[in-house]
């Protein structure tokens, strides 16, 4: 079940700097912890987060085991044209979760 929370302003003026917030529910298990039965809890983290604006990548981040569970990433973009902003989170297994939002630029 996709559990993501993204916040993109619905409308913005041409050239305006807008703040984008993105959060995903993920355990970000480091791989260094030991479970109740004494065996290692396998590593399970999100490795890469990317944001595309009308298909063009405008922001990305590499994530490491020190990042907390449910990572929350906020950044800014310059609103140029109306369109969709897509978000992709890719985990250790190569599986990705996506979310998208639209922005209207006037």
């Amino acid at each position: 079940m996709a559990r993501t929370l993204v916040n993109v302003p619905k409308a913005a003026k041409q050239g305006e700097v807008v703040e984008i917030k993105a959060m995903i529910a993920h355990p970000m298990e480091t791989g260094y912890r030991i479970g109740p039965n004494g065996s290692n809890i396998p590593r399970d983290i999100i490795r890469r987060f990317a944001c595309t604006y009308n298909g063009e990548e405008v922001f990305s981040a590499d994530l490491f085991p020190a990042v907390s569970a449910n990572p929350f990433i906020a950044f800014t973009l310059v609103a140029t044209t109306s369109g969709t902003i897509d978000f992709t989170w890719t985990d250790d297994a190569g599986k990705s979760q996506t979310a998208s939002a639209t922005i209207t630029v006037s």
């Binding site: 929370l5 917030k21 959060m23 529910a25 355990p27 449910n70 929350f72």
Partner: protein, 259 residues
């Protein structure tokens, strides 16, 4: 004149002792929110940065999903939670006539699952149970906690108060030792809050996940080196009953964020 001052002193002492016996006075009640740093308060205040909202969103999806052999969703009977569940969590735990005992919201959701949906009970602290509880409680956000006044709850509530005031564990502390007598002071680096259950299920930064009030109660019991009650134990529900009565009038904050 001296006798008069003595009398005033005695009256003042008597008033103080009454105040201590009754716990926290109404005007002094403060949510744990007030004891947090501005940064953590900001995290809770903005729904877009509050990680607890991830569970609320999941709960919203689960609410619409048909479950069990009855193949019916929560919304199949209860319709739109935004209307039907508004204010419900503010008066829980309630009396459950079937078992003759009080039942908390998570317990009610599970009994509804078992009896109406004929589905497997959800495990305590499972994401699905926390999500549904958070979603239902979220509908009461901003409403004052108004515990049920059902007379059948009284003996259980009294037992909850007794447990709250009983010293337990190797450290021989009761809940009241910290949260009634010493709130506002520090225990190590953190401020001791008044322990009002205003925001459960809540996101604790320490847990890095959402947890229930029972998980928090068990944490405290382990903290004083006592044997904690198991999840769903009647004693924990009695404690919840006492805590909601103690927090009467404070606003529901679910999903809250705590350090």
């Amino acid at each position: 004149m001296r006798a008069l001052w003595g009398l005033v002193g005695m009256i003042a002492a008597a008033v103080c002792s009454i105040a201590i016996a009754a716990g926290i006075e109404d005007g002094e009640k403060r949510s744990g929110f007030d004891f947090m740093t501005p940064q953590t308060q900001a995290l809770q205040a903005d729904d877009m940065s509050n990680p607890g909202m991830l569970w609320v969103l999941q709960g919203e999806q689960l609410w619409q999903q048909a479950q069990g052999r009855a193949d019916v969703a929560c919304s199949g009977c209860h319709d739109d939670a935004r209307q039907t569940m508004r204010g419900v969590a503010a008066r829980y735990p309630a009396f459950d006539a079937a078992t003759g005992r009080p039942i908390d919201l998570a317990g009610r959701i599970n009994s509804c699952r078992a009896e109406r949906q004929q589905a497997e009970r959800l495990a305590p602290e499972s994401d699905a149970l926390l999500a549904l509880t958070a979603y239902v409680t979220h509908q009461s956000r901003g409403m004052p906690i108004t515990p049920a006044t059902d007379a059948r709850l009284t003996p259980f509530r009294d037992n909850g108060r007794r447990l709250f005031q009983s010293r337990i564990g190797q450290l021989e502390l009761s809940c009241a030792s910290c949260h009634d007598d010493n709130w506002g002071k520090r225990l190590g680096g953190s401020v001791i809050p008044q322990a009002h259950p205003t925001g459960y299920p809540l996101y604790r930064l320490e847990w890095q996940t959402v947890g229930s009030l029972q998980r928090r109660l068990r944490n405290c019991m382990i903290g004083v080196r006592a044997e904690p009650f198991v999840f769903g134990a009647p004693e924990l529900v009695d404690l919840e009953l006492h805590l909601t009565e103690r927090a009467r009038g404070l606003l529901v904050e679910t999903p809250a964020v705590r350090p």
